[in-house]
Protein backbone atom coordinates (compact mmCIF):
# COMPACT_ATOMS: atom_id res chain seq x y z
CA UNK A 1 0.00 0.00 0.00
CA UNK A 2 1.39 3.41 -0.95
CA UNK A 3 2.22 5.92 1.76
CA UNK A 4 -0.70 8.12 0.78
CA UNK A 5 -3.00 5.09 0.87
CA UNK A 6 -1.89 4.07 4.32
CA UNK A 7 -2.48 7.64 5.52
CA UNK A 8 -5.92 7.49 3.98
CA UNK A 9 -6.64 4.14 5.66
CA UNK A 10 -5.70 5.68 9.01
CA UNK A 11 -8.00 8.59 8.27
CA UNK A 12 -10.88 6.24 7.42
CA UNK A 13 -10.40 4.30 10.63
CA UNK A 14 -10.38 7.49 12.68
CA UNK A 15 -13.19 9.33 10.90
CA UNK A 16 -15.67 6.64 9.92
CA UNK A 17 -17.44 6.21 13.31
CA UNK A 18 -18.46 9.87 13.43
CA UNK A 19 -19.24 9.97 9.74
CA UNK A 20 -21.43 6.88 10.03
CA UNK A 21 -23.22 8.33 13.03
CA UNK A 22 -23.86 11.59 11.20
CA UNK A 23 -24.94 9.78 8.06
CA UNK A 24 -27.39 7.77 10.14
CA UNK A 25 -28.80 10.99 11.61
CA UNK A 26 -29.10 12.40 8.10
CA UNK A 27 -30.84 9.41 6.54
CA UNK A 28 -32.29 7.44 9.43
CA UNK A 29 -31.30 4.24 7.69
CA UNK A 30 -28.27 2.15 8.61
CA UNK A 31 -27.59 0.73 5.17
CA UNK A 32 -28.14 4.05 3.49
CA UNK A 33 -25.77 5.65 5.99
CA UNK A 34 -23.08 3.11 5.18
CA UNK A 35 -23.52 3.71 1.45
CA UNK A 36 -23.40 7.50 1.94
CA UNK A 37 -20.23 7.34 4.00
CA UNK A 38 -18.63 5.03 1.47
CA UNK A 39 -19.47 7.53 -1.29
CA UNK A 40 -18.08 10.44 0.71
CA UNK A 41 -14.88 8.53 1.43
CA UNK A 42 -14.45 7.57 -2.23
CA UNK A 43 -14.64 11.25 -3.13
CA UNK A 44 -12.26 12.09 -0.32
CA UNK A 45 -9.80 9.52 -1.67
CA UNK A 46 -10.13 11.00 -5.16
CA UNK A 47 -9.17 14.40 -3.77
CA UNK A 48 -6.73 13.01 -1.19
CA UNK A 49 -3.50 14.48 -2.69
CA UNK A 50 -5.13 17.91 -2.47
CA UNK A 51 -6.88 17.63 0.92
CA UNK A 52 -4.51 15.45 2.95
CA UNK A 53 -2.59 18.45 4.22
CA UNK A 54 -5.72 20.52 4.83
CA UNK A 55 -8.74 19.18 6.71
CA UNK A 56 -9.81 15.86 5.19
CA UNK A 57 -12.46 15.33 7.84
CA UNK A 58 -14.14 18.64 6.99
CA UNK A 59 -14.00 17.70 3.32
CA UNK A 60 -15.62 14.31 3.92
CA UNK A 61 -18.26 15.89 6.17
CA UNK A 62 -19.10 18.47 3.52
CA UNK A 63 -19.32 15.84 0.78
CA UNK A 64 -21.50 13.66 2.96
CA UNK A 65 -24.00 16.40 3.82
CA UNK A 66 -24.29 17.60 0.25
CA UNK A 67 -24.51 14.06 -1.08
CA UNK A 68 -27.45 13.29 1.20
CA UNK A 69 -29.22 16.51 0.19
CA UNK A 70 -28.56 15.83 -3.50
CA UNK A 71 -29.89 12.30 -3.20
CA UNK A 72 -33.15 13.68 -1.90
CA UNK A 73 -33.33 16.06 -4.82
CA UNK A 74 -33.23 13.19 -7.28
CA UNK A 75 -36.48 11.55 -8.46
CA UNK A 76 -37.95 9.38 -5.75
CA UNK A 77 -37.30 5.71 -6.21
CA UNK A 78 -39.08 3.11 -4.13
CA UNK A 79 -37.56 -0.32 -3.70
CA UNK A 80 -40.25 -2.93 -3.17
CA UNK A 81 -39.66 -5.50 -0.46
CA UNK A 82 -41.66 -8.37 0.97
CA UNK A 83 -40.42 -7.74 4.49
CA UNK A 84 -42.80 -5.81 6.66
CA UNK A 85 -40.87 -3.34 8.81
CA UNK A 86 -41.03 -3.89 12.53
CA UNK A 87 -43.30 -1.57 14.44
CA UNK A 88 -41.95 -0.11 17.61
CA UNK A 89 -43.89 -0.97 20.71
CA UNK A 90 -44.25 1.00 23.94
CA UNK A 91 -40.96 1.40 25.81
CA UNK A 92 -39.65 2.78 29.02
CA UNK A 93 -39.46 6.56 28.68
CA UNK A 94 -36.31 6.74 30.77
CA UNK A 95 -34.49 4.50 28.31
CA UNK A 96 -32.02 6.22 25.97
CA UNK A 97 -33.57 4.30 23.12
CA UNK A 98 -36.69 6.41 23.55
CA UNK A 99 -34.71 9.54 22.88
CA UNK A 100 -33.27 7.96 19.78
CA UNK A 101 -36.70 6.89 18.66
CA UNK A 102 -38.07 10.37 19.18
CA UNK A 103 -35.01 11.89 17.58
CA UNK A 104 -35.32 9.85 14.44
CA UNK A 105 -39.03 10.59 14.23
CA UNK A 106 -38.44 14.30 14.71
CA UNK A 107 -35.63 14.31 12.17
CA UNK A 108 -37.75 12.46 9.65
CA UNK A 109 -40.29 15.28 9.82
CA UNK A 110 -37.66 17.68 8.48
CA UNK A 111 -36.70 18.40 4.91
CA UNK A 112 -33.27 17.13 3.84
CA UNK A 113 -31.79 20.61 4.08
CA UNK A 114 -33.31 21.23 7.51
CA UNK A 115 -32.03 17.89 8.65
CA UNK A 116 -28.53 18.57 7.33
CA UNK A 117 -28.46 21.96 9.04
CA UNK A 118 -29.57 20.46 12.36
CA UNK A 119 -26.92 17.75 12.14
CA UNK A 120 -24.13 20.10 11.09
CA UNK A 121 -25.10 22.75 13.60
CA UNK A 122 -25.99 20.64 16.64
CA UNK A 123 -24.28 17.31 16.16
CA UNK A 124 -21.03 18.61 14.73
CA UNK A 125 -21.44 21.90 16.57
CA UNK A 126 -20.34 23.96 13.60
CA UNK A 127 -20.84 27.75 13.62
CA UNK A 128 -23.66 28.96 11.43
CA UNK A 129 -21.23 30.62 9.02
CA UNK A 130 -19.39 27.35 8.53
CA UNK A 131 -22.65 25.48 7.96
CA UNK A 132 -23.55 28.06 5.33
CA UNK A 133 -20.19 27.61 3.64
CA UNK A 134 -20.40 23.81 3.64
CA UNK A 135 -23.90 23.74 2.21
CA UNK A 136 -23.28 26.71 -0.08
CA UNK A 137 -26.25 28.67 1.21
CA UNK A 138 -26.46 32.09 2.81
CA UNK A 139 -26.03 32.69 6.50
CA UNK A 140 -29.61 33.94 6.68
CA UNK A 141 -30.86 30.71 5.16
CA UNK A 142 -28.99 28.69 7.76
CA UNK A 143 -30.45 30.77 10.60
CA UNK A 144 -34.03 30.68 9.37
CA UNK A 145 -33.88 27.01 8.39
CA UNK A 146 -32.39 26.08 11.74
CA UNK A 147 -35.15 27.93 13.60
CA UNK A 148 -37.83 26.34 11.45
CA UNK A 149 -36.36 22.89 11.96
CA UNK A 150 -36.18 23.30 15.72
CA UNK A 151 -39.77 24.52 15.79
CA UNK A 152 -40.88 21.44 13.87
CA UNK A 153 -38.98 19.22 16.26
CA UNK A 154 -40.63 20.91 19.24
CA UNK A 155 -44.03 20.20 17.75
CA UNK A 156 -43.08 16.56 17.34
CA UNK A 157 -41.82 16.52 20.91
CA UNK A 158 -45.01 18.13 22.18
CA UNK A 159 -47.14 15.57 20.36
CA UNK A 160 -45.05 12.78 21.73
CA UNK A 161 -45.33 14.23 25.26
CA UNK A 162 -49.08 14.51 24.98
CA UNK A 163 -49.36 10.89 23.85
CA UNK A 164 -47.06 9.75 26.60
CA UNK A 165 -49.03 11.69 29.22
CA UNK A 166 -52.25 10.16 27.93
CA UNK A 167 -50.85 6.67 28.20
CA UNK A 168 -49.44 7.29 31.66
CA UNK A 169 -52.72 8.54 33.18
Amino acid sequence: MARGDSEFADFVRAASPRLLHAAYLLSGDRHQAEDDVQTALVRAYTAWPRIRRQDPFAYARKVLANHVIDRWRRPYREDATEDVPERSGPRDFTDGVVNQEWLMRALSALTPRERAIVVLRHYWDLPEAEVAAELKVSLGTVKSTNLRALAKMRVTAAGRAACAAGRAS
Binding site: F8, Q100, L103
Partner: protein, 234 residues
Protein backbone atom coordinates in the same frame (compact mmCIF):
# COMPACT_ATOMS: atom_id res chain seq x y z
CA UNK B 1 -34.91 20.59 29.56
CA UNK B 2 -36.83 17.35 29.52
CA UNK B 3 -40.58 17.19 29.17
CA UNK B 4 -42.68 15.59 31.85
CA UNK B 5 -42.94 12.35 29.89
CA UNK B 6 -39.20 12.22 29.36
CA UNK B 7 -39.28 13.64 25.84
CA UNK B 8 -36.51 15.89 24.61
CA UNK B 9 -37.61 19.46 24.12
CA UNK B 10 -34.58 21.73 24.79
CA UNK B 11 -31.54 22.52 22.67
CA UNK B 12 -29.07 20.95 25.09
CA UNK B 13 -31.21 17.86 25.27
CA UNK B 14 -31.35 17.75 21.51
CA UNK B 15 -27.58 17.90 21.34
CA UNK B 16 -27.30 15.19 23.93
CA UNK B 17 -29.71 13.01 21.97
CA UNK B 18 -27.79 13.64 18.77
CA UNK B 19 -24.53 12.53 20.34
CA UNK B 20 -25.96 9.40 21.91
CA UNK B 21 -24.62 6.29 20.19
CA UNK B 22 -27.01 5.21 17.45
CA UNK B 23 -29.04 2.08 18.23
CA UNK B 24 -27.58 0.21 15.28
CA UNK B 25 -24.29 -1.52 14.61
CA UNK B 26 -22.59 -0.35 11.43
CA UNK B 27 -20.61 -2.60 9.17
CA UNK B 28 -16.97 -1.47 9.15
CA UNK B 29 -15.97 0.53 6.09
CA UNK B 30 -14.13 -1.54 3.49
CA UNK B 31 -11.08 0.66 3.00
CA UNK B 32 -9.76 -1.46 0.15
CA UNK B 33 -13.01 -1.04 -1.77
CA UNK B 34 -12.98 2.71 -1.12
CA UNK B 35 -9.41 3.01 -2.41
CA UNK B 36 -10.23 0.89 -5.43
CA UNK B 37 -13.27 2.99 -6.38
CA UNK B 38 -11.55 6.26 -5.53
CA UNK B 39 -8.47 5.31 -7.54
CA UNK B 40 -10.64 4.57 -10.54
CA UNK B 41 -12.36 7.94 -10.25
CA UNK B 42 -9.03 9.68 -9.82
CA UNK B 43 -7.64 8.07 -12.99
CA UNK B 44 -10.76 9.02 -14.94
CA UNK B 45 -10.49 12.58 -13.66
CA UNK B 46 -6.83 12.84 -14.59
CA UNK B 47 -7.51 11.44 -18.04
CA UNK B 48 -10.34 13.93 -18.50
CA UNK B 49 -8.11 16.79 -17.39
CA UNK B 50 -5.33 15.67 -19.71
CA UNK B 51 -7.81 15.32 -22.56
CA UNK B 52 -9.18 18.78 -21.91
CA UNK B 53 -5.67 20.22 -21.90
CA UNK B 54 -4.79 18.53 -25.18
CA UNK B 55 -8.08 19.67 -26.67
CA UNK B 56 -7.47 23.27 -25.58
CA UNK B 57 -3.93 23.13 -26.98
CA UNK B 58 -5.20 21.79 -30.30
CA UNK B 59 -7.85 24.52 -30.42
CA UNK B 60 -5.30 27.26 -29.74
CA UNK B 61 -2.91 25.77 -32.28
CA UNK B 62 -5.72 25.58 -34.82
CA UNK B 63 -6.63 29.22 -34.22
CA UNK B 64 -3.02 30.32 -34.57
CA UNK B 65 -2.47 28.35 -37.77
CA UNK B 66 -5.76 29.52 -39.26
CA UNK B 67 -5.06 33.10 -38.26
CA UNK B 68 -1.59 32.99 -39.75
CA UNK B 69 -2.97 31.47 -42.93
CA UNK B 70 -5.65 34.13 -43.22
CA UNK B 71 -3.15 36.92 -42.62
CA UNK B 72 -0.82 35.57 -45.28
CA UNK B 73 -3.42 34.87 -47.94
CA UNK B 74 -4.52 37.67 -50.27
CA UNK B 75 -8.11 37.28 -49.13
CA UNK B 76 -7.00 38.44 -45.71
CA UNK B 77 -6.03 41.81 -47.05
CA UNK B 78 -6.60 44.67 -46.74
CA UNK B 79 -6.52 44.30 -42.98
CA UNK B 80 -2.98 44.01 -41.78
CA UNK B 81 -2.10 43.78 -38.15
CA UNK B 82 0.88 45.71 -37.02
CA UNK B 83 3.83 43.54 -36.22
CA UNK B 84 6.53 44.50 -33.79
CA UNK B 85 9.91 44.73 -35.42
CA UNK B 86 11.89 41.59 -34.84
CA UNK B 87 15.07 43.53 -34.31
CA UNK B 88 17.09 40.70 -35.74
CA UNK B 89 20.47 41.51 -37.19
CA UNK B 90 20.41 42.25 -40.86
CA UNK B 91 22.88 42.68 -43.61
CA UNK B 92 26.03 41.12 -42.13
CA UNK B 93 26.60 38.21 -44.48
CA UNK B 94 23.44 39.11 -46.39
CA UNK B 95 23.70 40.66 -49.82
CA UNK B 96 21.76 43.73 -50.84
CA UNK B 97 19.37 42.78 -53.60
CA UNK B 98 17.64 46.04 -54.45
CA UNK B 99 18.14 49.72 -54.84
CA UNK B 100 18.21 51.76 -51.65
CA UNK B 101 14.95 53.63 -51.12
CA UNK B 102 15.44 56.94 -49.42
CA UNK B 103 12.49 57.71 -47.14
CA UNK B 104 13.41 61.39 -46.74
CA UNK B 105 13.26 60.86 -43.01
CA UNK B 106 16.33 61.98 -41.13
CA UNK B 107 16.96 61.10 -37.53
CA UNK B 108 19.95 61.24 -35.21
CA UNK B 109 21.62 58.31 -36.95
CA UNK B 110 21.25 59.65 -40.46
CA UNK B 111 18.83 59.29 -43.34
CA UNK B 112 16.42 56.41 -42.94
CA UNK B 113 16.50 54.03 -45.89
CA UNK B 114 14.77 50.83 -46.90
CA UNK B 115 16.21 48.11 -49.07
CA UNK B 116 16.06 44.39 -49.64
CA UNK B 117 18.76 41.92 -48.79
CA UNK B 118 19.11 38.20 -49.12
CA UNK B 119 18.02 36.26 -46.10
CA UNK B 120 20.81 33.81 -45.35
CA UNK B 121 19.18 32.66 -42.15
CA UNK B 122 16.33 31.19 -44.13
CA UNK B 123 17.86 30.42 -47.51
CA UNK B 124 15.18 27.91 -48.48
CA UNK B 125 12.11 29.97 -47.71
CA UNK B 126 13.08 33.62 -47.74
CA UNK B 127 15.17 34.72 -50.69
CA UNK B 128 14.94 38.33 -49.57
CA UNK B 129 13.90 40.43 -46.66
CA UNK B 130 13.08 44.10 -46.18
CA UNK B 131 15.67 45.95 -44.14
CA UNK B 132 15.42 49.35 -42.55
CA UNK B 133 18.74 51.09 -42.15
CA UNK B 134 20.54 54.41 -42.32
CA UNK B 135 22.64 56.14 -44.85
CA UNK B 136 25.49 57.53 -42.80
CA UNK B 137 28.70 59.34 -43.78
CA UNK B 138 30.54 56.06 -43.35
CA UNK B 139 28.16 54.03 -45.47
CA UNK B 140 24.97 52.05 -45.32
CA UNK B 141 23.82 50.44 -42.09
CA UNK B 142 21.19 47.78 -41.66
CA UNK B 143 19.24 48.02 -38.44
CA UNK B 144 16.09 45.94 -38.64
CA UNK B 145 15.20 43.04 -40.90
CA UNK B 146 11.45 43.05 -41.22
CA UNK B 147 9.83 39.69 -41.45
CA UNK B 148 10.24 36.91 -43.97
CA UNK B 149 9.35 37.30 -47.55
CA UNK B 150 6.31 35.48 -48.90
CA UNK B 151 5.48 34.56 -52.48
CA UNK B 152 1.81 35.46 -52.35
CA UNK B 153 0.67 38.89 -53.46
CA UNK B 154 -0.34 41.29 -50.75
CA UNK B 155 1.27 43.01 -47.81
CA UNK B 156 4.38 41.64 -46.19
CA UNK B 157 6.84 42.60 -43.52
CA UNK B 158 4.54 45.27 -42.19
CA UNK B 159 6.48 46.54 -39.24
CA UNK B 160 5.83 49.08 -36.54
CA UNK B 161 7.95 50.67 -33.90
CA UNK B 162 11.09 51.30 -35.84
CA UNK B 163 13.97 52.49 -33.63
CA UNK B 164 13.69 56.22 -33.16
CA UNK B 165 10.02 56.02 -34.11
CA UNK B 166 10.65 58.32 -37.06
CA UNK B 167 9.12 55.74 -39.37
CA UNK B 168 6.18 54.44 -37.37
CA UNK B 169 5.02 51.91 -39.94
CA UNK B 170 6.59 50.42 -43.01
CA UNK B 171 6.57 47.32 -45.16
CA UNK B 172 6.09 46.32 -48.73
CA UNK B 173 3.32 45.25 -51.02
CA UNK B 174 4.15 42.35 -53.28
CA UNK B 175 2.96 43.78 -56.58
CA UNK B 176 2.78 47.17 -58.22
CA UNK B 177 0.59 49.49 -56.19
CA UNK B 178 0.01 53.10 -57.09
CA UNK B 179 -1.08 54.17 -53.64
CA UNK B 180 -0.99 52.63 -50.21
CA UNK B 181 -3.06 54.09 -47.43
CA UNK B 182 -4.00 53.26 -43.88
CA UNK B 183 -7.38 53.75 -42.31
CA UNK B 184 -7.20 55.38 -38.93
CA UNK B 185 -10.71 55.89 -37.68
CA UNK B 186 -12.43 58.02 -40.29
CA UNK B 187 -9.14 59.29 -41.68
CA UNK B 188 -7.20 57.92 -44.63
CA UNK B 189 -3.44 58.33 -44.21
CA UNK B 190 -1.42 57.87 -47.39
CA UNK B 191 2.00 56.31 -47.20
CA UNK B 192 5.08 57.29 -49.13
CA UNK B 193 5.83 54.58 -51.67
CA UNK B 194 8.58 53.44 -53.99
CA UNK B 195 8.19 50.82 -56.69
CA UNK B 196 11.07 48.45 -57.15
CA UNK B 197 11.57 46.59 -60.39
CA UNK B 198 13.50 43.82 -58.72
CA UNK B 199 12.04 42.41 -56.62
CA UNK B 200 8.70 43.51 -58.10
CA UNK B 201 7.28 45.09 -55.01
CA UNK B 202 6.08 48.45 -53.74
CA UNK B 203 7.87 49.58 -50.64
CA UNK B 204 5.86 51.88 -48.40
CA UNK B 205 6.44 53.79 -45.20
CA UNK B 206 4.58 56.26 -43.09
CA UNK B 207 6.82 59.10 -42.06
CA UNK B 208 7.15 60.88 -38.78
CA UNK B 209 4.21 63.20 -39.30
CA UNK B 210 1.82 60.24 -39.03
CA UNK B 211 3.44 58.81 -35.94
CA UNK B 212 0.81 59.78 -33.38
CA UNK B 213 -2.00 58.86 -35.69
CA UNK B 214 -0.67 55.41 -36.40
CA UNK B 215 0.57 54.43 -32.98
CA UNK B 216 -2.72 55.11 -31.20
CA UNK B 217 -4.80 52.14 -32.41
CA UNK B 218 -3.82 48.53 -31.80
CA UNK B 219 -4.16 47.65 -35.45
CA UNK B 220 -4.34 49.64 -38.62
CA UNK B 221 -6.01 48.41 -41.80
CA UNK B 222 -3.72 49.07 -44.76
CA UNK B 223 -5.01 49.11 -48.33
CA UNK B 224 -3.28 49.12 -51.72
CA UNK B 225 -4.82 50.85 -54.78
CA UNK B 226 -4.06 50.80 -58.48
CA UNK B 227 -3.66 53.86 -60.69
CA UNK B 228 -7.43 54.20 -61.09
CA UNK B 229 -7.92 54.23 -57.35
CA UNK B 230 -9.40 50.75 -57.24
CA UNK B 231 -8.37 48.67 -54.26
CA UNK B 232 -5.97 45.88 -55.13
CA UNK B 233 -6.78 44.00 -52.01
CA UNK B 234 -10.13 42.36 -51.41
Amino acid sequence: MRGRAGVVTGLDELRAALTEPPPVAFTPIDVEAVIRRGGRKRRVRRLSAAGATVFAFVCVLGCVVTGAHLLRSPAASPVTTLAVAAGQPAYGTAVRLSAVVDTNVVDAEGSVVLFFTSAPARPDSAPYQLVLGHRTPTGLTADVAAGPRADSPGFHAVTAGRPGRDVPLYGYYSGQASRIAAEVGNLMVTADTYRLAQPPVTVFWFPKRDRELLTAPDSVPVNAYDESGNPLTK
